[in-house]
């Protein structure tokens, strides 16, 4: 009777309660469940491996700190993806701000020493370990993804690398499903344009 009701929802509920109590076995289960889609999503979204590793960890720290605000109406995984995307967006914003500041050499001395400064310095050229791990193909994908607007890149990456359904992406982005579909559609179109330029350089132009 009661056993029949063991739906994923109840499992999540149970996991959540254990996490709220500080049960590290529950923490481990949660991390294991989400590790692969989450770390891949963050990596493709921010484009830098060492940053992705930091943000991955920070996401779970934020989960512990904000467990009290989680509403059971949302699914646990979409909630966690939303936290990860917000942290990633913050980092991308900080990076852009610092890049603008670095151009303005006079102010960079005083204001530059904020949390992500060293990351930004490293990111201006990929760090040695980042470069060692990446293949030619991966570099090309990373460079092309970086050309997309964050919102389109996010939608595409959630679909391709995190394997989320459209409805789940819609919840993470806080947008209707139709908008998400459009963003992914546009992202593929933009990427093809960006990558097509490289194709022209490497091989012959496309037919038609």
């Amino acid at each position: 009777m009661a056993g029949d009701e063991d739906k994923p929802m109840n499992l999540e509920d149970d996991l959540l309660r254990k996490c709220a109590r500080g049960d590290s076995a529950a923490y481990r289960e949660l991390v294991e469940r989400l590790e692969k889609p989450l770390v891949n999503f963050i990596l493709r979204f921010v484009g830098e491996r060492h940053v992705a590793e930091d943000l991955f960890q920070e996401t779970f720290v934020r989960v512990v700190k904000t467990l009290g605000t989680f509403r059971p109406e949302a699914s646990l995984s979409t909630w966690i993806f939303t936290i990860a995307r917000n942290l990633s967006l913050d980092w991308l914003k900080a990076k852009r701000r610092h890049r603008e500041m670095a151009l303005d050499a006079a102010t960079s001395e005083e204001k530059g020493r904020v949390i992500y400064f060293k990351d930004v310095m490293r990111s201006s050229s990929a760090s040695p370990d980042d470069r060692a791990e990446s293949t030619e193909e991966e570099r090309r994908v990373t460079a092309a993804l970086a050309q997309l607007s964050p919102i389109k890149r996010e939608a595409l990456v959630l679909r391709v690398y995190a394997g989320l359904q459209y409805s789940e992406i819609a919840r993470v982005q806080g947008a209707p499903v139709g908008t998400v579909k459009f963003r992914i559609h546009e992202a593929v179109r933009d990427l093809t344009k960006v990558m097509g330029v490289e194709d022209d350089r490497n091989s012959t132009a496309l037919g038609g």
Partner: protein, 306 residues
Amino acid sequence: MTCTDVRKLLPDRAMGDLDAEPAAEVAAHLKECDACRSEDGAFGRTVGLLRAAPAVVPSTERRAAAVAAMARAHADQSEKLLTRRPRLPWLAVATAAAFLLAVLGALNLRGSSSTAFTVAGVTGRAELRDLETGLWRPVAVGQQVAVGDRLVTQRDCKIRLVGGATELLLDQDSSVEIGAVRRVAFDRGRMMAVSPESGAESLEITDHENNIVRVRGRVELTLREVPYKVAGSKEQKGAPAVLPEPKVEIRRSLVARVQSGEAALGGAREQRLYAGPGEEGKFHPGGKPETAALQDPKVGTWVEDR
């Protein structure tokens, strides 16, 4: 299908997101049209390249680091919860207890729940859901209400909760969840918050849209159900100009009516407004707060009529 129609669908086709029927039509067109086929090839290569880029593989080190960071964060949280209101003679005790709790947390032992309120009075039937066990049980006088617990009152029921110098009176058909020692998530109904008009002991009430009201003094809080008319879609080209019927959605609006003291309203979008005695504050959908003079100056009369 024309070339224009087909090309619109090619990115979705490359992602494998086309329904069977349009997919078949596009495929038929591609057999005959070189130009579209070449464009289709380009989209296909893009998506292929994306999918072929190596994925980050799971690593035990990454997982272990995340779990350790979570345990640290939990220990920090418990410590903050206990040291939040340090009355001087107890400061040392509280710090020691917090330290002990942090150690217990790190050792993964039970005992991290924290009492926020004590039930000081009940009329009728109310239930409490324990965070630890997830079970509902009837509320009795003297019972401790811990962080994470949820309280629901039935018809003709009122509860009085006391925590420190703060008092919370929950009316019938109401529901709250204790988020932290001084934070209450308000889901349904009506309540009266009573706390000292000055001093640090304010109470924070949040609604399901994450609007926040911080109250001091005597403030009545209501979740009012308001029907909002939502406009229909725009008229279409060529179609007769008929305005679609507006849809009506029921939204809950958090209203704070201040008898004495003040209510600080922090909207979900970070605007902040204050309502003083004889004023009320409420939120519009989307989180914009608004304050106005009380239309009915009687606040919380239901508290006395029992």
